[in-house]
């Protein structure tokens, strides 16, 4: 993975300032838990923290030129270890290996660090193995745990870490930044709801399937106005082929959810900003004739479909059923 320390001050100015003060006054705990949404820059902050500590002559930022900084940037620093989920979970052997590695003396000068990416992916056994090591580290070791689901961690692990929360980037800010990168306004509005960082957003604009998904969902919304049969045909033509894997299917359901959110927002406050500003006329039209009860019913069904997706339901059937359920409301249920 690329070394992202230099992005941290820009993405998390407040937290970085706080960390810098802590490092300078040597008040940093031996275990840090960084929590924040996907894309809020957890890695960047973790990297910054490490580089700031190991840098040989830091001012308020790492010097970027000393040996430690150079090694960190090229990924060749031997005091930094990291663990990522191997498949679904971070397995027991991975933690054992990490502990074994860290129980040997350091090769470079300074503290040793380890980063546990997606710490909530530790299963009970690996979490307990790590817990023991968190409690009694053998020497100068600092743990950095990253997660976007702090509550999925064992409470015993949370209580042993200094917890810090990263600010998510606001969707308005994200939209502005995306538009500065020459993304069209309608696309930027949609992406600012789906993504959590500029990089992630730009990656989405370059992804062909995301464009197709967005168009497919809007086509489906139009077709839902025209009748169940139309909607089913549209779903089969433009949406179902895109349900190739769970993440993509989840994304499509999210887009659909945001479309209904737009309608509710239009109904409640005609001036509110939309995920799909290019379809505002259609949303207003639907909002006019639907009641809040109906819209709530539809939103609930999308949420239900999203849950069933995680239970590995057949995705084609799931989508068909959802279309029918969304239509039921119009038929006067």
């Amino acid at each position: 993975m690329d070394w992202q320390a230099s992005q941290a001050p820009e993405r998390q100015p407040r937290l970085v300032a706080q960390l810098t003060r802590m490092i300078q006054s040597d008040r940093l705990s031996h275990a840090v838990l960084l929590t924040g949404e996907q894309g809020s820059g957890k890695e960047a902050v973790a990297h910054f923290l490490i580089q700031m500590t190991l840098c040989e002559n830091p001012q308020n930022v790492p010097c970027e030129t000393c040996r430690a900084c150079r090694l960190l940037k090229s990924g060749n620093h031997l005091n930094v270890h990291s663990v990522e989920a191997d498949g679904q979970f971070i397995k027991r052997e991975q933690i054992d290996q990490l502990i074994h590695e860290l129980s040997k003396t350091a090769r470079e000068s300074g503290r040793k660090f380890y980063i546990v990416h997606e710490a909530h992916r530790m299963n009970a056994s690996s979490a307990n193995a790590l817990l023991k090591f968190l409690e009694e580290p053998t020497s100068d070791v600092t743990a950095i745990l990253l997660t976007n689901q702090p509550h999925a961690l064992l409470p015993t692990i949370r209580s042993r870490c200094q917890q810090m929360t990263l600010q998510p980037i606001s969707s308005e800010q994200l939209k502005q930044q995306l538009m500065e990168q020459e993304v069209t306004e309608s696309m930027a509005s949609t992406i600012s709801k789906m993504a959590n960082s500029v990089e992630e957003g730009l990656a989405l604009t370059e992804e062909e399937e995301f464009g197709l998904a967005r168009r497919g969902v809007l086509k489906l919304m139009e077709a839902l106005e025209r009748g169940t049969a139309h909607a089913l045909v549209q779903a089969h033509e433009h949406v179902i082929p895109l349900l190739k894997d769970k993440e993509k299917a989840e994304r499509i359901l999210d887009l659909l959810l945001f479309a209904y959110r737009d309608i509710v927002a239009c109904k409640a406050n005609p001036g509110s900003d939309c995920t799909f500003p290019d379809k505002k006329a259609l949303w207003e039209q639907i909002a006019m004739r639907s009641t809040f009860e109906q819209l709530t019913y539809q939103l609930e069904h999308i949420m239900k479909a999203r849950r069933r997706l995680h239970q590995n339901a057949n995705r084609t059937l799931l989508m068909e059923q959802l279309v029918i359920e969304l239509r039921e409301v119009n038929a006067g249920v």
Partner: protein
């Protein structure tokens, strides 16, 4: 950097260095070896983070020119490719030259390779070793110390400190202890030129196994330099660095019983062979357990019984049996490992009871001590 070197000498040096290079490393720079050309000769360094091996090719040796140095410098080259290339070069003269940054040319005869190297400044630095904390031992002694202890280290990673051998220097004596909490191997050695300060470190078992492969079985002196971070073994032109394990090694001296109720003296080799035979039937069942029974004053019986397979009994003549009658069961593997470490001589086994650990020693000296925990059987 530019120099010419004899291929066979380069290959010989590479061979040792390659033992430290691991293909599984996650750190890119460690897939390479560092080549450093200095006035006095060429240094090659390979490492897998745990161990680092450095070899040295002198410019001249015994009046023979081995290296022709044109320009000093250093570079890191991909170990696997460089090794294969040198192995297959057509002539015995190899020219290595670094130009425009990290591009490296390797020429021999009419063959010419252009390799892309990495910045040698990114390679991990070798630790600074203070020479005052050091002592020397002949290579064969280092090898036998390793052989007699390292087999007993733990292979489970649940207690990392037990995967190493504890080296302790106190009162001019080197005490090496390894244990996996079921058995223990201890070897003490008198040092002629022991360092003044006490020293205590845990050396990873894997590192010692590698060192054992590199050292030759001769009486050449090996200098051992100690620091709190690393340990260095110097043998001729080869330097072997190992990281140490952190954490406190458990105090094992209390585990070793000082008195005994039964004493058996028996020929080690005969006992080893008998246990090896008995374990044939025990292999699958219950962790290789064999039973040891004293019979009168001059024989012991080794037996094993697996209900599905059958049973085996064998009598081994004992030199001497003193004290209480005894029936005890233990792991055949642990016993054979221990007997192998004591090597052939008459072995003295001291038991303190059926459920208490027992110890094995040579009858001639106390240098080697092996301790094994028995297995409870009914």
């Amino acid at each position: 950097m530019k120099f010419e070197v004899m291929r066979d000498r380069l290959l010989e040096a590479l061979n040792d260095v390659m033992k430290a290079v691991s293909s599984k490393t996650t750190v890119a720079i460690l897939t390479g070896i560092k080549i450093e050309a200095k006035k006095e000769g060429i240094y090659l360094t390979g490492s897998d983070a745990d161990i680092t091996i450095q070899t040295f090719i002198p410019v001249e040796e015994d009046g023979e020119q081995i290296v022709q140095l044109t320009q000093t410098g250093s570079i890191v080259l991909q170990a696997r490719f460089f090794n294969e290339i040198v192995r297959k070069l057509p002539t015995n003269d190899v020219l290595i030259e670094v130009k425009n940054g990290y591009q490296t040319d390797v020429r021999s005869g009419k063959s010419e390779f252009h390799l892309i190297g990495q910045d040698a400044n990114d390679y991990p630095l070798l630790p600074q070793m203070e020479e005052d904390q050091s002592f020397t031992m002949p290579a064969e002694l280092v090898k036998s110390i390793i052989r007699e202890t390292v087999f007993a280290v733990s292979t489970s990673e649940s207690r990392p400190v037990l995967t190493g051998v504890n080296w302790q220097i106190r009162d001019g004596e080197l005490m090496c202890v390894a244990t996996d909490s079921h058995r223990l191997a201890r070897r003490s050695t008198k040092l002629e030129n022991a360092p003044a300060d006490e020293y205590n470190a845990v050396i990873p078992g894997k590192s010692l196994n590698e060192l054992n492969k590199i050292l030759e079985d001769n009486s050449e002196p090996v200098e051992i330099v100690l620091t709190s971070q690393q340990i260095l073994f110097k043998a001729g032109n080869v330097l072997f660095y190992s990281r140490l394990l952190e954490g406190n090694y458990p105090d094992t001296s209390r585990l070793i019983p000082s008195e005994h109720k039964t004493l058996v003296v028996v020929n080690g080799r005969a006992l080893h062979q008998a246990i090896d035979r008995a374990s044939l039937l025990a292999r699958e069942e219950r962790n290789n357990v064999v039973r040891f029974t004293t019979q009168g004053q001059n024989a012991v019986e080794i037996s094993s019984n697996s209900p599905e397979i059958g049973k085996v009994e064998e009598q081994v003549l004992a030199e001497q049996i003193e004290g209480e009658e005894l029936v005890i069961s233990f792991s055949a593997k642990y016993m054979m490992d221990a007997l192998k470490a004591i090597e052939g001589h008459d072995v003295q086994i001291q038991f303190t009871g059926v459920m208490r650990p027992f110890i094995l020693k040579s009858v001639h000296d106390d240098a080697i001590l092996q301790l094994i925990l028995p297995v409870r059987t009914y």
